[in-house]
């Protein structure tokens, strides 16, 4: 980690977007007081994690990247114990666990062991557990990695619902669609640095034009296209198997490609996304 600087306001959903190894999880660990920071200032809800970890952790709900449900306990006990760890009475924790299981559609699985549940359900239990003591801040470290699309969309809806209720959300992700969909503001991280900060729309607008044209072709042909069209449409970015021209005038590129008689596998006119911002800022692709 080297000189990262950000401020999150209460009630917003703040994202950390970047590839694996960018330093997102390390940043989260410092926030939830699991790792000491080597240097610099950090305040969470006005507290210093080195001096007052308990005051901070009292107000946090953390969902870690790895599935860390307590296999020795059933689903309801997993929730109950987290309430007790946060200082709730057994009665209050049991009541909250009941509400929370209902909200997450898990009421009929209260007595199940975590290992008996699907990956998507386990994730919901983890989120329910993190929310049990009604935290001010919910920390989600890669919350939808490895889940199928249906579960991802279901979780996104719940995160947006939670934000509506005023919970501040910190989320790390390497999915640009997730960041775009959920985050009010985000930082883009790469190799321990923050390379960009802003709103999803703002970052796109200030970094790339609104439109892009992707052209898939063989390497030699890509080189020929890039060379011959660069003067008119600007230098395209090179992904592993395609070229991307950043322009709002997709139709002109398409007709130039057609009249040039190039051997093209496919072409696509699309809106630009945070993926393009990442590529522009780092010269590398976000998704592997």
């Amino acid at each position: 980690m080297a000189g990262i600087d950000f401020t999150v306001s209460a009630g917003e959903c703040f994202g950390f977007l970047g590839p694996n190894g960018a330093g997102k999880t390390s940043t989260m660990r410092m926030i939830y007081c699991a790792s000491p920071r080597s240097a610099g200032e950090l305040r969470v809800l006005g507290h210093d994690p080195d001096r007052e970890p308990r005051a901070i952790k009292q107000e946090l709900g953390v969902v870690m990247q790895d599935d860390l449900l307590d296999e020795a306990l059933n689903v309801e006990e997993n929730l109950l114990l987290f309430g007790i760890y946060h200082g709730l009475s057994r009665q209050a924790a049991r009541a909250r666990a009941g509400e929370s299981l209902t909200y997450f559609g898990l009421a009929d699985r209260a007595r199940s062991r975590p290992r008996e549940l699907s990956g998507g359900m386990r994730r919901r239990v983890e989120i329910a557990r993190a929310l049990l003591a009604e935290p001010k801040i919910l920390i989600l470290d890669e919350p939808t990695t490895g889940l199928d699309p249906q579960f991802r969309h279901d979780l996104w809806q719940r995160f947006l619902d939670l934000r509506e209720r005023g919970i501040t959300i910190l989320i790390t992700t390497h999915y640009m669609d997730e960041a775009e969909r959920l985050c009010d503001r985000l930082v883009i991280m790469d190799r321990g640095h923050i390379v960009a900060t802003g709103t999803p729309a703002g970052l796109i607008a200030e970094t790339v034009p609104a439109g892009a044209v992707e052209v898939r072709a063989q390497a030699a042909e890509r080189a020929r296209i890039a060379e011959q069209l660069a003067s008119t449409f600007g230098q395209p970015e090179e992904y592993s198997d395609r070229l991307v021209f950043y322009t709002e005038d997709g139709d002109r590129i398409l007709s130039a490609l057609r009249t040039g008689g190039y051997a093209i596998r496919s072409e696509l006119v699309r809106r630009t996304t945070l993926e393009d911002v990442f590529l522009r800022k780092t010269g590398r692709e976000l998704a592997p």
């Binding site: 308990r54 307590d70 020795a72 306990l73 114990l81 760890y85």
Partner: protein
């Protein structure tokens, strides 16, 4: 760093009884699922030991007391408390650190490492107490309890449990490989079990054994328990009780510190 400057004040804030009780309560919650199964061996083990060592072997032994069974039973009681505490803070805690990573999740809540360590120690003491009570009941059935004073063996089991919980947790906090527990059990606990005057007095052993035994924990646990059941050597037993208490507090403090080093990376 800010940590060391305000060391002791910070430490005190790090360990609260409530936090430790919450960690202890997690173990109790799990034990409630399994205790019906778990409690059964706790009764059979003393039965087997008392039958084989006390009654079986005892028939061939003369010279230590009126009855070898009555002489060997308090020593086995002490060893039982040792075993009850040991398992919780060795394999069980190791699995929670390395495989289940239970503590990672717990540390994201207001709990501290110190409270986790103290809660686990308290739970190991609880298990030592459960072993002790079971052993005591079996001893009563064998007709080995002659006065209400033997009930003092229960707090003794808790004290012995605390000492071995601290020793075991210290080993676990330093141990990176689960296979090394076979060294802990074979090279540490087994010789303690065999040479702590549970089965025979050390009088006729070479001087070295007697000197070494004095510096090992189970020897004192046996001396204490033998006094509580048979009334032998009261002053030596008192010395042993004090030594166990002091050693337990010191080693538990060490274990708590080492667990912080192990868990906070």
């Amino acid at each position: 760093m800010t940590g060391s400057a305000s060391g002791s004040a910070l430490d005190r804030a790090r360990l609260t009884w409530r936090g430790a009780a919450r960690v202890w309560f997690r173990n109790l919650t799990i034990y409630r699922h399994t205790f019906r199964l778990n409690i059964v061996p706790n009764f059979f083990e003393p039965v087997f030991y008392l039958l084989s060592m006390g009654v079986g072997l005892g028939a061939y032994v003369a010279g230590v007391a009126d009855s070898y069974l009555a002489w060997v039973a308090p020593g086995l009681f002490a060893a039982s408390a040792m075993n009850g505490a040991t398992f919780e803070v060795t394999y069980n805690v190791f699995v929670k650190i390395v495989f289940d990573r239970s503590y990672d999740a717990m540390l994201s809540t207001p709990l501290s490492v110190e409270e986790i360590a103290a809660g686990e120690l308290a739970w190991a003491v609880t298990r030592a107490g459960i072993y002790g009570v079971a052993f005591l009941i079996v001893m009563a059935l064998f007709g080995l309890c002659h006065s209400a004073w033997v009930l003092l063996a229960v707090p003794a089991a808790l004290l012995i449990g605390l000492l071995f919980a601290g020793i075991g947790l210290t080993f676990t906090a330093l141990n990176k490989q689960i296979d090394l527990y076979s060294y802990y059990f074979t090279l540490f606990l087994t010789p303690l079990f065999l040479f702590s005057e549970i089965f025979f007095p050390l009088e006729r052993m070479p001087e070295t054994f007697r000197v070494l035994a004095f510096f090992t924990p189970l020897y004192h646990a046996v001396r204490l328990c033998r006094f509580l059941f048979l009334g032998t050597e009261p002053r030596a037993a008192l010395v042993s009780a004090v030594l166990i208490a002091v050693a337990a507090l010191v080693i538990c403090a060490v274990a708590i510190r080492l667990l912080r080093r192990r868990l906070v990376i």
